[in-house]
Symmetry: C2
Subunit: 196 residues, 2 copies
DNA sequence: GCTTATGTGGATCGCTGATCCGAATAAGCC
DNA sequence: GGCTTATTCGGATCAGCGATCCACATAAGC
């Protein structure tokens, strides 16, 4: 890649990150290009679709979450690992408003630029779930696909301005359905009482 | 209203219903007008915004759901009433793909044409929830707003082609978190195996 | 049948993302 | 340093979107 092209690409990524954080993933691509002092065509050549741009932006975070799942697999109890990772996943999506919808669409669209990242993330969650299930700490009638769907739905909830205030609490509600509450004493302490 | 105007309005509603069922709520308004052999301006005068059009289309269903909640309040056990009504709500939204997102946005936007209907629906659910809680059949740390959010999230799940196949199952998972399983004998039969 | 208030829809605006292609320029070679 | 060439750039343009305007058509009331 030519030096000027690389510079433009990096600059565009930085500007896009700011713009999307401010206005959500539906921000006008023309605006991003304008803010980066670049033609719209240039933006669209580097990132042919909005998803390609998001993929480049989110890939780092994706990898971090996947890595964290791997680390938790050995460092925490099966139950805590799953709960903590799920919370991280949901919390992370709040950074890029609207991204979760694209992820939900990408998970089974093999043409999407986001597809591979989503599948990897889902697999990481599935491993944590399987481990928790084997330890008898998670209900066994759900699988990785269900887990991904639940996380996605909770993240979407946090994306809706009108529902976001309840997102944390509802995460606890859903989590209580996933994690078997046999060891309820320890749990009651770990998970904050959200509302009296 | 003049006779021709009324006719146009009714015809537009019928065409819009078909179009939205086929293509989801994001269907082009221009397309709807074209299919109704009417100018775009005419559609937009009868229904100034997409939400106004949806409000007119959905109002009947809204009222039915609200009425059903009222009927269940006396005809069924608090638990069955809540569970059955929630299921109906989620199932209903599948008819108009994408409508749930507009509803979530309308619930706290008093300017929205859908606002009043959404608030009424939420209140109906809240009454069923309160009744179930009073009977000790539902967890007491959630309220009507939480319930609306959960239903909305589940409905959104059913709207996503990639997640929809799990929507029914995940409804059961979430429902098991809302309804307290103290009377597990009666429940165990009605609800599919929650925890094997 | 005439008048008037109401309803209509083509034309147009500003916006979106997508695409084309002449102009600008960095990289490689002598 | 100067030349050539392959790469990159971005203004211009296109089709689509919802919103708005206003000259024209028409139903309703007398």
């Amino acid at each position: 890649m030519r030096a000027d092209a690389r510079k433009n690409r990096d600059h565009l990524l930085a500007v896009a990150g700011t713009a999307i954080t401010e206005q959500g993933v539906d921000v006008s691509l023309r605006d991003i290009a304008r803010r980066a002092d670049v033609g719209l065509a240039t933006l669209l050549r580097h990132f042919p679709t909005r998803e390609a741009l998001l993929d480049a932006l989110l890939r780092t975070s994706f990898d971090e979450l996947t890595a964290k799942a791997g680390a938790l697999e050995t460092s925490s109890s099966p139950e805590d690992a799953l709960a903590s990772w799920l919370r991280d996943c949901v919390a992370w999506t709040t950074e890029y408003r609207g991204a979760i919808v694209l992820m939900a669409a990408a998970i089974e669209d093999t043409e999407s630029a986001l597809h591979a990242s989503c599948v990897t993330l889902r697999a990481a969650g599935a491993r944590l779930l399987t481990r928790a299930q084997a330890a008898g700490m998670a209900r066994t009638d759900i699988d990785g696909v269900d887990l991904f769907a639940l996380v996605t739905a909770l993240a979407w909830l946090g994306d809706q301005p009108s529902l976001a205030p309840r997102a944390d609490h509802l995460f606890d509600v859903v989590a209580s359905a996933i994690l078997t509450s046999t060891a309820s004493s320890a749990e009651g302490e770990r998970r904050p009482r959200v509302r009296s």
